[in-house]
Symmetry: D2
Subunit: 281 residues, 4 copies
């Protein structure tokens, strides 16, 4: 029985780049982390240690910093598309390029009601992400939001589920619903106003979460996906990863005190883990 | 030579509590993590395994959830003072109680320009902290900000420092200054409007960072401390821990390209680590 | 255009379970973290909030602890197969069950040359993993090693690679090679002596890494995969994720000192990221 | 009221250094992370931005790599003492130098019963630490163990503690005791065989933990400290930080099944937190 090299990729991860755009009246700050991953004709590299088709990952890193100067001027989606094409065109041995960009978000500090022209405060954990997959002539662009931590204190129920001999969970009409959400949506084109779309989709996700009468995490997931697809034609499909950040009612009754949905234990583990894709016919 | 039990403490850490205050027109959400630490007459517990003076840490946890219902209605400073007194008064074997509270910050989601009445989004990594130290009749209240990530793209220099045979750093008139800051300040009383003071101090820290012409991290640290003390009489002293989040100029010149303070490598390690306390005479 | 619910899963993650097996002459300690993920007929749960086909994730958690008592007596692979079948047989609405188990490894403390009968020390970060995928009547069993941190101080070269205008990396005949490796291999049966196979495969991975004359990470990856497949018939294919933990030669020459591969900077980011599958024809 | 600069320190953290010692028959691998912290006459740096007494932290980093070549040949304690003296002697403006070194531990890979001459596997999370405090002519040397994760499945009780209206914990004669321990001990000299002492102290800690009939975490803490002081004259005092890694009995009884100390829930938070110092008269 013969042994074969199967699917394989290589590249550089965590290329951490900061760019300042010095406009006359204020600075823009872009902080990103970039992963590059190549597929192609690398069988002899594996089997014989022949590196003649290997572009070193150190060179990928240098290339990103050089290209950022002239070409990272707008969205991470646009810069990712530029990078993917650069590596594909300059490396005939490569069949597929994947570029992943995570953008850390900053706001200008407000001093006396005005955004300061060159001082910034982090927006926190939430990140904007983009993945570009360039394969042959096809360019697939996926954008997303990562680590979006949201919570609602009411309008969330969970009941009428299966009961068996190991059921101890109590049905509820009113619980805390919280999730540290990851959202990814795929566009039907690589020529779009990505920044405008990102802002519109993020607003729809937040508003739907806020206003939905939730009967389960799944129910809210679908509602958010449906609204995004209804309102944004260039979105082909949207996926959610929604870990359930449980806030459990503390048992005050054992001490003769009523707990009217006031005092909760926040727990990390174990946690419900719900994923789903909403798509078009 | 005799062997002795020296200083010792015990308690419960990471009591994670969420409280909802259900106002008629909107909900308030408080999410905190509480550490309790006791000192006292625990020599026989150590030397003989005698637990008769030990309040179990599990009971401390239960107590916090019970007391939160009626007594966690305003600031973490006030709830911390209440908890410290409760444990001191109910445990004569205890000489000192320390309560540490970390508050995770949330904002109401804005939908169509209006703050939603019961849906929230995380403010991110930044936290509000409080430490209460109750020893005999003395109550020391320290408040703080943790994980405050800030950055300025100009008005920061570093030059005229010591040079020796191992110096390679270049002097600069214009660099990125960034820090993930921890600030702690001690109050001169336990009867204050802690929320109002916290907001005023946080604003002063941010505005001073934004507007200062920095000649070093130390220079900015002192300026922030001085402004807080000048503007807030109840603050006795203020301490800063300011790790330097380096953003290093990428060497584009090696490729024949100019880098006009545009493209930087963000690095995590190693990092400068600057601490200092600003105090009153 | 119609909107559809696409692929979706739900379940409980991080069910952290410790089991003691009290043999007469010594105790066995098993510490695991279990993820359960179900696929099936859940369209109405998403679209209408109908939970009548939803087994709550809280019940999944209870079920795992109950079943562990009688059925978690040997390998994590065997317990995972048992769990997958249990959830499939008791839930006709479910088409696929995935069970992931991560085992934290412990050794008995050695005192005076003898393994203590009931006291343990952690083996560290390295973990044994297993994934069971039960779909219809097909049971796929994958085992693995996670966070295996290994390093060799010589017998590792990297040269003869592509050079372009952004190349700055120097060719080397002798560098440090280090990786925090993740290995996963798929078995061709669910009725095997999984513990024996795991131990044999782990030994082969380590010995091949130690003895190989490496010309690149890819070259070592293939060598390890080839040896495992050659020596273990029940292994259908094996995959490696090998982040390159760079140790960069520190430039002592700028201070007039020679660095004979002695002093290195250990860096975390950016890092080379190499993945590959070795398979059979 | 005058504003003053109080206590302050600065330095470089996380100087990550790997050193290979190439003995003829095998290599030695040392991987460490070093923090340097200086105190001294830095008032004008804070108040006026005057850097003329500031040794840049970047230069500290370069110095460490240079000095490691000739002077990091034995223990981290000895290298730390060398570094502290170097920075003190070359910087008259400095009154105190603190050097903290964390050593990541590696073992040579065993192949066919023999330790490989140049291939290594990580020992895991456990680290060896050292802190050198040089103040005037006084050199204080503290060594330690960090992230030592240990567990015993029996010989651990907890009972006869205080009971009040919020007590729900059940007394037990037989529970799991586990802790991720941090140990620090201070030597009475800076001229000792630090490696030999470290190994002896670590063995005593492990053996005492294994063999002790524990009545509480505090009881075990004292027993370990007492044994180390009894057996090692150069140790002046020893401190322990012992977070309680709870493994809670799962309630099988609610399902009509007995749990004979077999099946446990491992929890991370909240956790008991016990600290104590054992010292000499």
């Amino acid at each position: 029985m013969k042994i074969l090299m199967g699917e394989n990729t290589y590249g550089k991860n965590a290329i951490n780049l900061t760019k300042i755009i010095r406009n006359p009246d204020h600075h823009e700050l872009k902080q990103v982390s970039i992963n590059i991953s190549l597929q192609g004709d690398f069988e002899t590299a594996h089997k014989a240690g022949d590196n003649t088709k290997i572009l070193p990952t150190d060179t990928m890193k240098n290339t990103v910093y050089v290209l950022a100067k002239e070409n990272f001027t707008s969205s991470i989606e646009d810069f990712g598309i530029f990078l993917a094409r650069y590596f594909k065109q300059n490396n005939p041995q490569v069949s597929q390029v994947k570029i992943e960009i995570t953008e850390y978000l900053w706001s200008r500090i407000i001093t006396e009601g005005i955004a300061h022209k060159h001082s910034f405060i982090s927006n926190g954990n939430e990140k904007h992400t983009a993945t570009i997959l360039l394969n042959g002539n096809e360019t697939r662009v996926t954008a997303g939001i990562k680590d979006l931590l949201i919570l609602k204190t009411t309008d969330s129920a969970f009941k009428d589920y299966i009961r068996d001999q190991y059921t101890t969970l109590k049905e509820t009409d009113d619980r805390i619903l919280s999730t540290e959400c990851q959202v990814n949506w795929e566009y039907d084109s690589w020529q779009l106003n990505f920044t405008e779309l990102y802002n519109a989709i993020r607003t729809t996700v937040l508003m739907t979460f806020a206003n939905h009468k939730s009967l389960s995490v799944q129910h809210t997931l679908y509602a958010m996906g449906e609204k995004v697809l209804q309102g944004n034609d260039p979105v082909k499909r949207i996926s959610f990863i929604m870990p359930n950040k449980h806030h459990l009612l503390f048992n005050l009754e054992q001490f003769g005190i009523e707990n009217n949905n006031e005092v909760f234990i926040a727990t990390e583990e174990p946690y419900g883990y719900i994923t789903g894709t909403v798509t078009r016919e």
